[in-house]
Amino acid sequence: MEIVVCVKPVPEAESRLRANASGTAPDTDGVKFVLAGYDESAVEQALLLRQAVPGSKVHAVSLGPPSRTDEVLRAALALGSDSATAAESDAPPMADPIATARGLATAIAARGPCDLLLFGKQAGDDEEGLVGGATAEALGLPFVGFVVDLRFDAAASRLRFRRSVERGEESWESPLPLAVGLQQAWNDPRTATLPAILRSRKAPLARHAAGPGAAVAAASVAERFALPPPRQGAKMIAYRDPQQAASQLVRLLREEAKVFP
């Protein structure tokens, strides 16, 4: 089974993001881009399937400029991916998801056969969750999101998996090829070992030009990027007698927070 995993470089969780000078995107100067938790789960799922289905290969693909994609692809290699492909694009981070999907689809099609296409359920930064479905659409593959516990039934030549939905869980089966968005961390992603990290530094990265050009022309453009306003400080009510504290709380809820008329 040829398994392709799309991995997105996202700002490290501890990064302190600011808006750029034009106020349309985050300023990425000095920001470190890493493999997102959702995508780690997808890589882990790919590695588990490869272990279960002899002869399988895992290929990581990431879109963006080398300054963002390369470290993420090396992280995927260190975890155990067999190959890594950079879909080179000068698109800014958190760019238009349809353009990203088209760029990824071009690179995936050019890379070689793909029986199973995996994504994290959504990106760790903008949390849009659009690229998986859109890439599947561009490649003409069916797509299922919010999946856990993907297994391959070799006898029936079908994938079996579960899907978290609002009131419970669905059980699915599907033939190949298929594109899947995976829930985060249900599979406790492994940590790359030190020797694997050292090996990944020397592994070659395949490069595929995913832009510029019509394939990655943005369908939408971000007009404004701003951080949420800072949280207002909590108001502490000095506590002497409970009745007095309660009536003061009710007064504040009514007059300041305006939650009651």
Partner: protein, 382 residues
């Protein structure tokens, strides 16, 4: 030109160590210190990830890192728990004499099993009657046919109760002083070895330290490193390699103390404002910052010098001595920043002071480091 930025490879190694330190070590640091407990499950995980045996070349299955990369890793581990770090890096110290003095056959026989599966080794140099004066050691090695018979006692030996292998320094003739010192590799299974009970220590309580007695322990000549009388030089060359990571370990303690103090200073209010806005606290934080950064840079410089193939005796002594003194100062100031809370075991900073103290003593007491520094310095003026 000098470049202080880390390569992407170095950064990825540091990130691995940071992740391991913060998710696997830090949550257990307080408990292992209080109990005390030797968290072998954490050391097994460190081994599985390749964070042990950092100095063993990859041909024997080790990580084969240079000293600079080792230092990046050690600082991150020590940030979470200095005691666990001491136990994790004790293999590097114990195996270094085999790396430096072993024949290819000895290296492959002794080093490969350590990388293939989790196992601990102990470096046995110090004795009850003397640590710094290593030429005066009393453990005897008497030649008997194609073997030696070891008799004596070692003390303050890291990981000794849990170790499967000991690198032991003994003398073939005490009257020869350092010219009689000879090095041996001794498996725990050899008859006549008795590790003592765990010492109750002030700090580094997640690590295990004990005496080791050798009673008529037979060691075949094939397990001797180098020749008779070449053990002292081998011990010194070993410590030249392992001294610098102690600078990194101390830097990790200092950075942890600084981070705790700065965060607390922003939160804790007195006289109507956070104490970080009082100049008295700002001066402390500024001094702590200088000490930690200087310790790191001196450590990096020593590691860089040795990685270039130079001996780096002066540089590594300066790094170890300065960084350990800095760690004690910074931990002390962190406690003062916390005030009464800093003195309480419920808060994390008093442990840092106890842990920092050992870095001034082990792997060459700072008095010895200063002797070495002065000797190396004056050589340039003579």
């Amino acid at each position: 030109m000098v470049d202080f930025s880390l390569s992407p490879e170095a950064e990825s190694l540091r990130d691995l160590a940071r992740k391991f330190a913060r998710t696997e070590m830090a949550p257990h640091a307080a408990e292992c210190d209080r109990t005390p407990r030797f968290p072998e499950e954490i050391y097994r995980k460190a081994h599985a990830l390749g964070l042990m045996n950092l100095n063993v070349p990859s041909e024997y299955g080790g990580s084969g890192l240079g000293l600079f990369d080792q230092c990046l890793i050690v600082e991150e581990l020590a940030y979470a728990c200095a005691g666990m770090t001491t136990s994790i890096i004790a293999n590097c110290l114990a195996l270094e004499p085999i790396l430096l003095g072993g024949t290819p056959e000895q290296r492959s026989r002794f080093l490969s099993p350590f990388c293939a599966s989790y196992q601990l080794a102990s470096f046995c140099l110090t004795e009850p009657s003397g640590g710094s004066d290593a030429g005066a050691l009393r453990t005897r090695a008497r030649r008997d046919g194609d073997a030696y018979v070891l008799d004596g006692e070692k003390c303050f030996i890291t990981n000794a109760p849990h170790a499967g292998l000991y690198t032991v320094f003994a003398t073939v003739d005490p009257t020869l002083r350092h010219r009689g010192v000879t090095a041996f590799v001794v498996p725990r299974s050899a008859e006549g070895i008795t590790p003592g009970k765990d010492e109750e220590k002030m700090g580094h309580r997640a690590s295990s330290t004990s005496t080791v007695r050798f009673d008529k322990v037979r060691v075949p000549v094939s397990d001797r490193l180098l020749a008779d009388g070449e053990g002292f030089g081998l011990a010194m060359r070993t410590l030249d390699q392992t001294r610098t990571p102690i600078g990194a370990l101390a830097t990790g303690i200092g950075q942890a103390a600084l981070d705790h103090a700065a965060r607390y200073a922003l939160k804790r209010e007195t006289f109507g404002k956070p104490i970080a806005e009082h100049q008295a606290i700002q001066i402390k934080l500024a001094n702590m910052t200088q000490a930690v950064r200087a310790a790191r840079l001196l450590t990096w410089q020593a590691a860089w010098t040795i990685d270039r193939g130079e001996k780096g005796t002066l540089e590594s002594s300066v790094a170890k001595c300065f960084a350990s003194d800095a760690a004690l100062l910074v931990a002390d100031e962190a406690i003062q920043t916390f005030g009464g809370y800093g003195y309480m075991k419920e808060y994390p900073v008093e442990k840092l002071l106890r842990d920092a103290k050992l870095t001034q003593i082990y792997e060459g007491a700072n008095e010895i480091q200063r002797t070495v520094i002065a000797r190396e310095l004056l050589r340039g003026y003579a």
